[in-house]
Structures are given as structure tokens and as C-alpha cells.
Symmetry: C2
């Protein structure tokens, strides 16, 4: 029988609400009699390998509740993907040793597709080794590309940020277009799926409102059609606002702006679609252009988080604890949207084996036939996800985000030599 302590880790790119999930885990575990302490990996799963376990029982209650309104990863996250136990058994062995040494019987991994895959492997490995750890995946990704869940915590807040930024910058361009900038390009995240760019469409309340073109990775970019559409939009509206996914690509799968570098997962590092498009428009159409790249600002923007997103992020954390307490393992918490009028949601779960490394693209029915816009079905899906405001507390005009003590447990094992 494994121990009663929990190991929780954040994985991959952080979000405005991933700490709300941590808050849900820790607060719910504190109220659940059979649960012991919640240990959190310093810098995600690296904390398990390095035996750097943050002991949240040493953190005052107000710090834990402050996580709900604090963006990014308060314990550190990492880009580090475990290989399979067949390829590198020493990492799994080490994690299990650390879990045993600290009485850990529950592993909650808060991340995207790669992390769900890892959680699944740890579950299987630990069972094989006769120390069955209950592994629960907690969804998180601004990219909204996890399957079997209606949405992913983190996405709703980015969606809100991008929609509001598009609305506000659109008003700016509109008010100056008579004598100044005609075209504005906003570049947003989304390597493989256009969910974030699509959310910009929530800015429009009339057909003529920005964004006038949304460039999605799902729709091959055609330069001639693009320039024609921009010219037509400026002719009609006197200005044109474009929102482009960083993952925008041509029909042959070439990213519009490949920086050449790769990240730790071997994914191409992107950035620079906006200046590339502006260069094209300036040279071919001669309009005065401006561009913005919001990069980390969009996924860290807790100051304008979606209340629905914050609530859901908390709920998936809390649900992981409840599922574990009821004996579940090898599942990811999901969000389910109720059928019928109005928007209602609840948590559910799905087997990790089904989730691992499946990517959810935007359905075709969410993209207008011309490929530059979002359909009413798409908007109906997106709208409730940005609902509600959940402002952080402010001090002297600046949000008061919590700073944890992050005390580490004393180490019990020799250093890990296997990396």
C-alpha cells in the first residue's frame, strides 16, 4: 500500500490560472481526511527527479488561497518530457524511490498532452513495480487542444485577453485610419490549433467589426487570396485588423515565421508572423501598418482572467483529489458542457490512455467557408468560456500576487545521477 501524501507538479507552459488548479488541489486535500501532505515538485517533474519537494503544509492558508488569483507557476514548471520506461527506466525508478521515501501515494500531473502521457506511464510503471501510485491528470493548456474535455483551463483567460485586445486595438486603428495606420496585425499563440486566434472573433458585435481576418493554422495560407482580402477590407472599412496564429502555415506545411530554433520537446520555436505579414502588406499594398506580438503577456494576463476559466481551473484541481480519494487512477479530469439552453458545466474524467498525445484541432464547422473567420457555431462554443471577471486584489495600482515561501522537504535519498 502506497502512502497518503500527494505529489503535484505543474508541467509545460504556464497559464494565468494554473495556480488556481494548485489551489484546488491543496485546499481540497487539506479538507480530505485520508489525504496526507501535498508536496509540489520544484520546477515540475524535475522536483521529483531531484528530490526537491515543496512542502505546502508549511505554507500559511492565505498564501494557498492567494494562488487562486496568482498567474504563472508559483512552484516552477518545466519543459521536460520523460522518455518511456523502456527507453529510460532510471527516471521512473527514481521517481518511484522518491515517492516511496516521502510516503507519496498520489501523483497529480497538471499539464498538456505530454504530461497526460507521462502520468499514464507512471501509473502503469508503479503498478508493475508493486507500489501502485494513483495517477490523475489535471488538464492545462492555453492551446485548448486536449481531447475529451470541453475546454482546457488556461484557454478561457487567453481567449478573453485576445478578444479584448483585438477590440481595444481595433478601436485605436479605426479612430486613426483616415490619416494614419490602415492595417494592424496581432500575433497570438497557437502552434497547431487556431483556438486562441479564433477567440479574437468574440471582439466583434457587428459584421464590419474587427477582426476582419483570422489566420488559423488549420487553413493553408494563400498569399494572393490574403492580399486581395486585405485590400478589399481597407476599401470597404477604411482599415483592416488581422489576428494571426503563430502557427500559420502554407499548404506545404511551412510555418510563415520559423525562427530556426527548437524547444526541449523538439518543437520548432515560433515567433514573427506579424512582422512578416506586415512586410508583405507594406510591400505589396503600400498601406501603413502596425503590429503587436503579445507572447507571454497573453497567457500570464491574470488581471483580465475569465471567471469561468478560474472556476474551472480550481474545480479540476479539486476534482483530482476527490477522484483519487475515491480510488480512481489512470484518468484525466475533464470539463463537460451540459446540453440544452444556457451554459452549465461540471467535471468528469477520461482514461489517460485515451488522451495521451491526441491533439484536438478546431472542427471545420467552426471556420467560415472562406477560411478567414469563425462561424456562429464556433462563437457559441467560445462565448461562455470568457464569461465573468475575477479581478485580483490590487495594492497601489498593481495586482498583489502571492509569493510563496516554497520550503523544501529535507532530502532522504542520495542525488539522482541518472539524468
Amino acid at each position: 500500500m502506497a502512502g497518503s501524501n500527494i505529489f503535484y507538479a505543474q508541467s509545460g507552459g504556464v497559464t494565468a490560472v494554473i495556480n488556481a488548479s494548485a489551489c484546488g488541489v491543496i485546499e481540497t486535500a487539506r479538507e480530505t481526511p485520508k489525504m496526507g501532505k501535498v508536496f509540489v515538485g520544484k520546477n515540475g517533474i524535475l522536483g521529483a527527479l531531484n528530490e526537491e519537494l515543496i512542502d505546502t503544509s508549511l505554507e500559511p492558508k492565505r498564501n494557498i488561497s492567494g494562488l487562486r488569483h496568482t498567474p504563472s507557476g508559483a512552484f516552477g514548471s518545466c519543459r521536460f518530457k520523460l522518455k518511456s520506461p523502456e527507453e529510460n527506466p532510471r527516471e521512473y525508478q527514481r521517481i518511484l524511490e522518491v515517492f516511496k521515501a516521502h510516503g507519496i501515494g498520489y501523483f497529480f500531473y497538471n499539464g498538456g498532452g505530454d504530461s497526460q502521457d507521462t502520468a499514464n506511464k507512471v501509473a502503469a510503471y508503479s503498478t508493475r513495480m508493486g507500489y501502485p501510485v494513483q495517477c490523475i491528470g489535471i488538464p492545462k493548456t492555453v492551446d485548448n487542444d486536449l481531447p475529451f474535455t470541453d475546454t482546457c483551463p488556461g484557454f478561457g483567460s487567453v481567449a478573453k485577453y485576445v478578444a479584448i485586445s483585438t477590440l481595444e486595438a481595433g478601436l485605436d486603428v479605426a479612430s486613426m485610419a483616415a490619416s494614419s495606420t490602415k492595417v494592424f496585425v496581432l500575433e497570438v499563440m497557437g502552434r497547431h490549433a487556431g483556438w486562441i486566434a479564433a477567440a479574437s472573433a468574440l471582439a466583434a458585435t457587428q459584421k464590419s467589426d474587427p477582426p476582419h481576418l483570422v489566420i488559423l493554422p488549420e487553413v493553408p495560407f494563400d498569399q494572393t487570396r490574403f492580399l486581395k482580402r486585405v485590400a478589399a477590407t481597407v476599401a470597404r472599412e477604411d482599415y483592416c485588423v488581422i489576428v494571426a496564429s503563430e502557427g500559420a502555415q502554407t499548404a506545404d506545411g511551412r510555418f510563415l515565421a520559423e525562427s530556426g530554433g527548437v524547444d526541449a520537446f523538439g518543437h520548432a520555436q515560433l515567433g514573427g508572423v506579424a512582422p512578416m505579414l506586415v512586410d508583405l502588406i507594406k510591400n505589396q499594398l503600400g498601406f501603413k501598418c502596425h503590429w503587436a506580438v503579445s507572447d507571454y503577456l497573453q497567457r500570464a494576463a491574470r488581471h483580465v482572467a475569465s471567471k469561468v476559466d478560474v472556476d474551472q481551473a480550481y474545480a479540476v484541481g479539486a476534482s483530482a483529489v476527490r477522484l483519487a480519494a475515491s480510488g480512481k487512477s489512470g484518468v484525466m479530469v475533464t470539463l463537460e458542457r451540459s446540453q440544452g439552453r444556457g451554459y452549465r458545466w461540471r467535471t468528469g474524467s477520461v482514461a489517460l490512455s485515451k488522451v495521451a498525445n491526441v491533439e484536438k484541432k478546431m472542427p471545420k464547422k467552426f471556420i467560415t467557408r472562406d477560411g478567414w473567420g469563425i462561424t456562429e457555431a464556433g462563437l457559441a462554443y467560445l462565448r461562455p468560456l470568457v464569461r465573468g471577471e475575477d479581478y485580483p486584489p490590487y495594492d497601489q495600482g498593481i495586482p498583489r500576487y502571492v509569493r510563496l515561501k516554497n520550503n523544501l522537504c529535507p532530502k532522504k535519498l542520495p542525488p539522482f545521477e541518472g539524468k
Copy 2:
């Protein structure tokens, strides 16, 4: 004797709160018995030349009050500078004809240095021509570079946006630095003065907090010193957050953004201080970097406006009406900071002749000796300007900004042929 109607125009780059000034003008004029209608130039001063006058008396009260929370220029602004009456008398002649035709005796020009200059020239010209129009300048510029006023409406909200963005993106980078991005560069506005970049320093509550380097146009950029400082910061903090003014320049006055670098594919660098600095750091130090350019997002960000800024923007508009009603002309409304403990402010005024085309740079005492930071004196100046939140109303998760009817007055004159 000139008429009792007001002509109000917005000029140059718009801000998150310039409409709050319009709101102050219109609401106060409606309450001031001697004032007639408020006409607003469609697209700024172009509206006077083209006799396109928006009749705000046709706008419902709730639309006018909604201007207080609506960013950018609700009537259109423009980049158009009148020449002097000696160089181009036809423009002044035309403006005066339009003013006469519509019973306009007051001209409120809401803009930066150029606009104050124009207001001054219109005042002098109209007096010379025997139809003395009372001209009042209303300060506006995100650049905070107008003299004789403690601050410029529009700046406080950009300052707040930049400080919060730096805080939030800084938390993001900090939480991933162990295995991912080490350096983040945020490019902000400020061609000649570093006020906006300086405001990012409000993000820090401890010495080790971001921003670690602020790059100001006032301090010549030295590549060797810069790289050394970035390397030292990463060595000490494990990450480095840099906020750079778009106007950053070398000792010989060359803008960094124009330094002609090439990207990974050998394409000419498309402009932007942030990508240029990131290129430099990647090539010379090898750190993984990310960058953001907030461009119009920063000056349109009404969703996170400073309450002090909104209040001041309204007050300078209201004050212009009161000054005019009391017979004043040829002055710009100013903001005065009271001496002593705590932050108190009130409106004042200064002769337009003094203001015109004088640029207020950051005082040396606001910049740390090493040139990369802001002193306590600078922070003490900046802090109160971002104070307070003034959230717009939301509908379904998106701010409900007002959309005016903008009905034009019937024209009384033949078209202007003088442009």
C-alpha cells in the same frame, strides 16, 4: 463677438482615456449656461477643414457618459499638423469660416505638443482676423512629454498596463527558467522619452524582481555593457526580464530598431527593438529568449486603466470648459501635484506659447547611475499615477464600449479646396 458653440477635436495618437476628456468637455458644457452646443471634429482637425462637425447634442446622455470608459478616439483622430498661418493661411482661413458659420466661439484641442502649438496659432490668428476664438489646449499623450503639467492624461493607464504586463510576464519567465526561456524582452512605446519603459519598474517589489533592465532613449545603448549585464543577471537570478523603449538608440543617435539585422533565414530584420535585442542575446549569449511588442495594445488598454488617469482625463476636459467660461484663452490645462505627504492633485493652466513644441524628457535624477533602472525619486513620481482601478462594464465577458451615432451637422459652406 464669436458664437457660444464649442469645437472640440482629438489629435494624434489616441489613448485609453482621451474619450474621458471628451466626456468631461461635453458633460460640463451641457451644465454651463453660457455654452452652446459641442461640435466635435470628425477625424480631429480634419473635421474643421472638411466641415464635418459631429453634433453631440444629438447623442443620448448615456452615450456621452459611456465615453468615460471607452478607449481610443470615438470621433476619430488624425495625424495632421497645420503649417503656420504665414506658410498656409488658407487652412486657418477655412477653420475660421467654419467656426463662424456654426457659431463657434471656443476651440478645445486635445492632443500633444503639436496640437498645443496649433491651438496657440488659431488663437492668435482668430484675434488678428477680428473673430477672437477662445482656444484652450487639453493635454493628452501616452508619451508624458508635455512640459508644465505634472503628467499627461493617457500616460498613467499605459504605465499601469506596462507595469502589470511586466509583472505578469516576469512571473511566467521565472516559473519556466530552470528548463526553458531565460530572457524576455518587452518592447514598449516612447520614441524620444523613456517614461513608458520607466513605468515598468513599478512591477518590482524586491530588488531581484523584474524588470532587470530598462532601456531608455535617454541613455545611449552600449552593446558590450548590455550583454555583460544580461549575462550577470541570468547568472544571479536564473532569468532576465528587459523592458525596452522603441526609441532606444546608440550614442550616435541611431535607433536600435533600424540597425539592419537579419533573421535566422537571412531575411532583413523587420523592425522592432525587441526582436533585435533577442537576436543579439541569442547569438552572443546563447540563451533561449522570448519577446513581445505591445504596440497599440498598451495605449488602448482601457480594461486595465488607472483610475487616477481616468479622473484626470475627465478633469482636464471639464476644466477647459470652465476656463473658457471664465474668459480664458491661449492656455493649456495642466495637472498640478500638491507638495507634501500623500498624493493630491488639481488642475491648473499655462500659456500655450510656453508649451508649444517643448519636450519633457525624464529628469536625470529618475534614472539610476548605471542607466538600467529607475531611482526611488522616479518611482515616487510614477507610483500615484497608476493608482486605482476603473473597470469598464462588461457584457458576456467582453467590455461594453460605447458606439456613438456621430451625426454630422448639415454643411453650410462649399467644400474646402485648399488642402
